[in-house]
Symmetry: C2
Subunit: 211 residues, 2 copies
Amino acid sequence: MRVGELSSLSGVPTPTIKYYMREGLLPPGERTSRNQAHYDDRHLRRLRLIRALLDVGGLSVAVARDVIAALDSPDTGTHKLLGAAQQTVIRTAAYCDDEAREDATAEVLDLVHRQGWKVSADSPAVAAAAEVVGALRQLGLHDFVDRLDDYAHAADAIAATDLDLVRRRPDVDGMAEAVVLGNILGDALLAGLRRLAQVHRSAELFSSGPE
Amino acid sequence: MRVGELSSLSGVPTPTIKYYMREGLLPPGERTSRNQAHYDDRHLRRLRLIRALLDVGGLSVAVARDVIAALDSPDTGTHKLLGAAQQTVIRTAAYCDDEAREDATAEVLDLVHRQGWKVSADSPAVAAAAEVVGALRQLGLHDFVDRLDDYAHAADAIAATDLDLVRRRPDVDGMAEAVVLGNILGDALLAGLRRLAQVHRSAELFSSGPE
DNA sequence: CCATGATAGATAGTCCCGCTATCGGAAGTG
DNA sequence: CACTTCCGATAGCGGGACTATCTATCATGG
């Protein structure tokens, strides 16, 4: 197919498709002449992936490019790919000062130890979690931090399902996609499910309240 | 204190503080004359909240304003506040077409029923979850959707901790903050913890792999 | 076989967002 | 009284995600 058809099938405007190709999100089509190229359903699928990452996952174009590059890279062991997927989601915000961050990092490492997780201390995931813990502390929500283990336990259950799904994938390509999408869309999914569960439990708790 | 001190204590530049006041994120100080105002530690605390919402929570200024408005609103029952906090996190992206969204909504409502959750069908949380489910389906990750119940179970455990923390809050103001921050920072926290758990489990599974 | 319309590639422009810079006039401070 | 700080307002800036336009090409159908 040509660009016009790709556009109408995907719902993405032609100039935007060109933009994605310029930015390296979408591979170029198979050239048939100087100003003509063919696209196939891989392009269509890729476009859908891009829109999912941007719209549902809330990723920036630059981050989406990195994710896709990791997906395309042939030497991608699952463990390494997981690392790449992680990099993408980690916020690089520097909220709290160095001292608070150090304390928070120690706290997270303690938690990791309590959970029996084997994770290197310089993993970006540690830094990300520490950032949030530091923020919670600075805002005085210490009781929140006191329940870290509860949250960690739930996270462990989630990761178990994640990895199980990945393991069951028939092919490596599918595995890669499952890892990335499971993380990025999974975050959005979990946020939604958490809200749902909250609504239910909150209604039960405060059913005597207003409204 | 005056603006300069507020700025140095919070680490937020003076012009940015003024910008936040213009945008309604930060209440004005107590005016002492035509061009002088006093700020207190409530302003400092609020500034820290704002930075946490923006930097750690990844909210936009406009959404942060809505969150803060809900916090300030005096008539805020906890249940209602929870609803307000939810609105803020829901992505309004329209990824999939109407038909797919309808199917996905039905699927989510089924899940809600299986979990025994009592949630009205037009809750924004339902729409948010349905959006993700629709995206997963359109991308062909059906096995992911098959494990929805596992994720829902974990979400339920998380919500239980959330609500328990809220219930234990001594004052209403603290409750409101706990709800909002627990949701917004909690999402970031869970994402981090999930990555941590994944790293651990993935290392166990694929320890024979490269690196 | 040529007019018409779509296409590739390149460049420039647009809009929004989150600040940031500047300015005029007034107030505190040594 | 000089000097700094502050308020309020307006304007500007830099980045991100498109979007519009232009030219040279090519496919196609009457």
